[in-house]
């Protein structure tokens, strides 16, 4: 059953899209991640133009993060003050990211830039996760003590200090603004929520409690992906609502299975699996950039 995507201007099998949504949904439920970092490359692999994949996936992530945020809100795990400060940086980062995206698109470099950003990002995250899960497995065998989570360093000496009661922190507002800015750029260029980068940064750099970090990151991700969606719609006209909704329909169902499945499996093994998956996607994108293409030329419409 084929469906014509009005903005992507291509015909795609609807069951394939629903299946991809479900598969990524299972993974996101299983690992507690948004899944944008897997969905955008998958869309590119099936032939969706990379700019449309990014714009539409940003839109999908807004939707996918809502129910998670509501659940964390009910449990009181959202630090709105921290979220608002992160969002100040996030809004700036999205504006800069979408501007950069447009420049790269006019230069004809956006497809390569998206792939390259994914290779760098997935490569780093995949390696860190592989090391982390290997360490945890070793520690479990040896029974070594855990390191202290919240350590003070020079970053905590910056000016403009603010008190964040829910996160039990008194730190410079510049830190969350800078982190938010970085996530905004990632969201705009890669079509990801950026939880992958944001949550570790909140826990290890800012020193937030893990439970609050997850809820607060969802708050920031919803707003940043919403801003990115609107900016891409205005600047690049690359947001395909039909595509986003089809992916969402699959992802919602998949996430339910995933979270049930996740409860039955061990954490570090799961993370090891996810690390392998992330590295595989990274390798595929990297090879596509490096292998000599059959066709050196490409044709694109001129952007006014």
């Amino acid at each position: 059953m084929d469906i014509y995507l009005p903005i992507a201007e291509m015909s795609v099998n609807m069951l394939l899209l629903l299946g991809m949504g479900t598969a990524v949904g299972v993974l996101s439920g299983l690992f507690g991640v948004g899944g944008g970092f897997l969905m955008t490359p998958l869309l590119i692999f099936i032939g969706v133009p990379p700019p449309v994949a990014v714009g539409s996936e940003a839109n999908q992530i807004t939707a996918a993060s809502v129910s998670g945020l509501l659940a964390h809100w009910r449990r009181g795990n959202v630090d709105f003050r921290m979220g608002a400060v992160l969002l100040c940086g996030g809004a700036g980062g999205s504006v800069f990211g979408v501007w950069l995206f447009r420049q790269l698109r006019e230069m004809g470099q956006i497809d390569a830039a998206i792939s390259l950003a994914y290779v760098g990002f997935l490569g780093t995250v995949g390696l860190l996760m592989a090391i982390e899960s290997a360490n945890t497995m070793r520690r479990r065998q040896k029974g070594a003590p855990r390191r202290k989570l919240h350590q003070h360093n020079w970053l905590h000496g910056l000016p403009l200090k603010m008190r964040f009661r829910k996160s039990k922190l008194y730190i410079s507002a510049l830190l969350p603004v800078a982190i938010g800015f970085g996530v905004g750029i990632l969201a705009a260029i890669m079509g990801v929520g950026g939880g992958f980068f944001l949550i570790p940064a909140m826990i290890y750099v800012l020193g937030m409690p893990t439970s609050v970090a997850v809820g607060t990151s969802l708050f920031q991700i919803i707003f940043v992906t919403a801003i990115v969606t609107v900016l891409h719609a205005v600047t690049n006209q690359t947001v395909d609502m039909v595509l986003a909704l089809l992916l969402l329909a699959g992802a919602v169902v998949g996430a339910q299975f995933g979270s049930r499945l996740g409860a039955a499996l061990r954490g570090e093994q799961l993370r090891g699996l996810l690390a392998l998956l992330v590295l595989a996607v990274c390798a595929k994108l990297g090879l596509d950039l490096m292998i000599e293409p059959d066709e050196f030329f490409s044709v694109a419409p001129v952007i006014e």
């Binding site: 807004t62 939707a63 129910s67 390569a112 919803i222 609107v230 609502m241 490409s298 694109a300």
Partner: protein, 245 residues
């Protein structure tokens, strides 16, 4: 009133000319292709009749649009787009069908004059570089468009039914551009162009997809806000449905 004989003779010749020109009549199986949500491509049949033994050539041309052709080169181990050439009027679609090989129907100059055959399409590059450089880009454009199903470099045959009827089919892929297409039918006899007829074909988006596309281009801000609103609603709804189950 008396007319001098030579003028009467001229009138007779002028009156005869349209009769000669009307030796070919054509139509399309449909004049509109609607790109709906279920669109996966389309086929259009062109049919017609002719008098005499002339050769029929059909050229189907899609709307022209500026296109940029880029060439990849190796940069730091990666294949990235480097040089680019913009062609101001790249055809959105181009296909030729003929009753015989084109070279046997008319000479190259006449075919070029009427832009019959892709090599006769004016591509007007954005800048005049060294000939060989531009030629590589000029050659790449139809090659890539052909891979996308938008250009047929090979001349398709025209089927004849009896002596007068002829027919040929054109197929359009799902990525066909929207706009006005023209099917030009030329009737040649002994290398001379006797007659030309044109039929128009409109390709446009239709239904829900067309509404969405139009909205996204005309009101991009509202479209973006709607996309976010729909996402928030859908996400909330999904949360409610699965919390109860």
């Amino acid at each position: 009133m008396r007319w001098p004989l030579p003028i009467l003779g001229l009138c007779a010749t002028l009156a005869a000319a349209p009769v000669l020109a009307q030796t070919v009549v054509i139509d399309l199986s449909s004049h509109k292709i609607a790109i709906t949500s279920g669109f996966t491509g389309a086929e259009v049949l062109l049919f017609g009749t002719r008098d005499g033994d002339g050769d029929v050539v059909v050229v189907l041309r899609g709307p022209e649009k500026a296109a940029v052709v880029r060439r990849k080169a190796r940069v730091a181990g990666m294949w990235l787009n480097r040089e680019e050439v913009i062609f101001a009027a790249a055809p959105g679609y181009y296909a030729v069908a003929a009753s015989r090989p084109l070279a046997e129907i008319a000479d190259a100059a006449l075919l070029a004059e009427h832009r019959i055959g892709f090599e006769n399409v004016h591509l007007s590059p954005s800048f005049e570089g060294s000939g060989a450089e531009i030629d590589a880009f000029r050659a790449a454009l139809p090659r890539i468009l052909e891979r996308q199903g938008l250009v047929r470099s090979a001349v398709e045959p025209i089927g004849h039914v009896g002596k007068r009827l002829f027919r040929t089919t054109f197929s359009f892929p799902a990525n066909v551009p929207t706009g006005l297409f023209h099917a030009d039918v030329y009737l040649f006899e002994d290398g001379i162009l006797l007659s030309k007829r044109t039929a128009a074909l409109q390709v446009s988006k239709s239904g829900f997809g067309a509404t969405m596309f139009g909205f996204s281009r005309q009101q991009p801000l509202l479209y973006g806000l709607l996309a976010v609103a729909v996402a928030l609603m859908a996400g909330w709804l999904a949360g409610v449905v699965f919390r109860k189950s």
